[in-house]
Amino acid sequence: MAGQTLYDKLWAQHLVTSRDDGSALIYIDRHLLHEVTSPQAFEGLRLAGRKPWRRDANLATPDHNVPTTIKERSAGNAGIVDDVSRIQVETLDANCESFDIEEFRINDERQGIVHVVGPEQGATLPGMTVVCGDSHTATHGAFAALSHGIGTSEVEHVLATQCLIAQKMKNMQVRVEGQLGLGVTAKDIVLAIIGRIGTAGGTGYAIEFAGSAIRELSMEGRMTICNMAIEAGARVGLVAVDDHTIEYLRGRPFAPSAEQWPAAVEAWRELVSDDDAHFDKVVELDAAAIEPQVTWGTSPEMVVNVSAAVPDPATADDETVARGMQRALEYMGLEAGQKITDIRLDKVFIGSCTNSRIEDLREAAKVAQGRKVADNIQLAMVVPGSGLVKRLAEAEGLDKIFVEAGFEWREPGCSMCLAMNADKLGAGERCASTSNRNFEGRQGYGGRTHLVSPAMAAAAAIEGHFVDVRDYDPGSARDRDDALSA
């Protein structure tokens, strides 16, 4: 018998019952909640007279609607100017209170984007099943936790039963071997993967990211990659447990106690695919060949190397694709053949559950240090993923680097990734964004989004247009400045 993949093992460990028709009941260890996809679920519980099955499995925090400006934030919920947004956050507070669910409220320092908060607290652990009413729950797979987004009906189902009705997915392995070039990051790896397999390439699969380039990545980098598995169509992205995983978790508030730690680590070490495991599909990428990536269109698969040009719909494989590309060019206000580095920007957003962790902010700060945001950039903002990320960044002086360079340093939340709060693009505005979706209207009605890494976003802010961040390695700015002043 062939060995098991990591996904096979996680599935088997959580299988409560399975039926002849292929559907199964799987047990859920961790349920993360936020204000947008939970109110109807709590209402459903209330109407049916049900209670949460297991209170301690749930953890909530408001993130999508919260303001990121200090003035509004200091007033707590009352500072949310938009009534409907405020009611949604207040509803989460009220529901957590009445169902006795732990919540990090708006001005708790532990508040932040659910997918930053879970791992940071150690509330995401290897071997868990983790769900949340949010498609970017795939993020937690970086810890070898079986994690995926669910809808609101499923949120209610998990609250009431601690289980999910599920069907086993197929296994895909994406192997990234070799050494990444200087200035090339996890974000570029995942955008390159999506460019290769397409936004539906992973539909029906759990993707395990493997290979030497993945093993070299920090947990932050692995989270960035798993986060965007859904942008390749896969609900689940996974990375096997290794020393990085275990060291990251040591001492976190929700992590196993000192006495449970050795047994936990022993169990976690098993969370790797067996050597002879069978994958239904294998995709291989050469890390050394990956360049910094920039999306040009309205789907994450519409992505090219920074050194490339906007593609021509005439080169598309079929008519549906060609029409999609043409429509994207029109929406984005771009011409086929235009060089990526000639695209001028209006705004820059560094944040989101993809890229708002400490390492992301460090990479962006390295580029921003000692430089100034270009005059044509109306707004360049940095939004840390949680209150704790913010505190750490400030302790390292990153906030000062950003502010001196002309970036705004904000309070934690989802912010302009999806513009449910006041942070949004105006019609026709063009933004370099470290978020995960470049869909039409995503960052604001008529807004134009280009997805890039934090370092690429920071470099674009400085130059006012896209540049190859590899020409921008730390030190080169100082050299250039020295040369200028000499």
Binding site: Y27, N65, V84, I87, T199, A419, M420, A427
Partner: protein
């Protein structure tokens, strides 16, 4: 959940691949704490010429005459015909709520995104994946024939076109059963609470660190 057995519905063609859930229902409408009322904002950015916001009276907004659902011949459509990877992106269940509230009960496309697929069935919407060639042919027939209706028979897993041609479709047996009977998932699962409790006990023994209130 609403039952689905049989439907004879007018078909509307949405000729676009990778329709994401942001396009189906834009983020500003996700601030509602209700499950209903999303119909007027289905495909909001395609349907209207202005920017929509929650709580607005949609009847006074300027319509985009080029958008397919604004054409009188498609008024009252219950079957949406679409291209590959329909429903990709965000997990928002507001997308099927909006489709349902607008009046759609069936979506036909070459493929669907996974989370949207789950969410739709939980709301009594039947998703039918058909091969690209068949979908292309249905597009041509729908556009060529005003009042084009499809007969959708879930029990027999069969579509019938106006010319009497039948097209078989696949649906997973559990979802079909739930849809035909209008079953409440939670009730079904709670009927297995004994098995869940047993599993939980073993799980806690094996990995006590997964439980905080021991």
């Amino acid at each position: 959940m609403k039952k689905f057995e049989h439907l004879q519905g007018l078909v509307a063609p949405l000729d676009r691949a990778n329709v994401d859930t942001d396009l189906i229902i834009p983020k500003q409408f996700l601030k509602s704490i209700k499950r209903t009322g999303f119909g007027p904002n289905l495909f909001d950015e395609l349907r209207y010429l202005d920017e929509g916001y929650p709580g607005q009276d949609a009847s006074s907004r300027p319509l985009n005459p080029d958008f397919v659902l604004n054409q009188p011949r498609y008024h009252g459509a219950q079957v949406l015909l679409a291209r590959r990877n329909f429903g990709c992106g965000s997990s928002r269940e507001h997308a099927p709520w909006a489709l349902d509230d607008f009046g759609f009960r069936v979506v036909i496309a070459p493929s669907f995104a996974d989370i949207f697929y789950n969410n739709s069935f939980k709301n009594g919407i039947l998703l039918i994946p058909l091969d690209e060639e068949t979908v292309e042919r249905l597009f041509q027939e729908t556009e060529a024939t005003e009042g084009y209706r499809l007969d959708v028979d879930l029990e027999r897993q069969q579509l019938t076109t106006p010319s009497g041609e039948t097209i078989a479709f696949e649906v997973d047996p559990f979802r079909k059963h739930c849809l035909l009977e209008g079953l409440d998932d939670i009730g079904l699962t709670l009927a297995q609470s004994g098995a869940i409790s047993d599993f939980e006990r073993r799980h806690r023994q094996a990995q006590p660190w997964l439980f905080r209130d021991v």
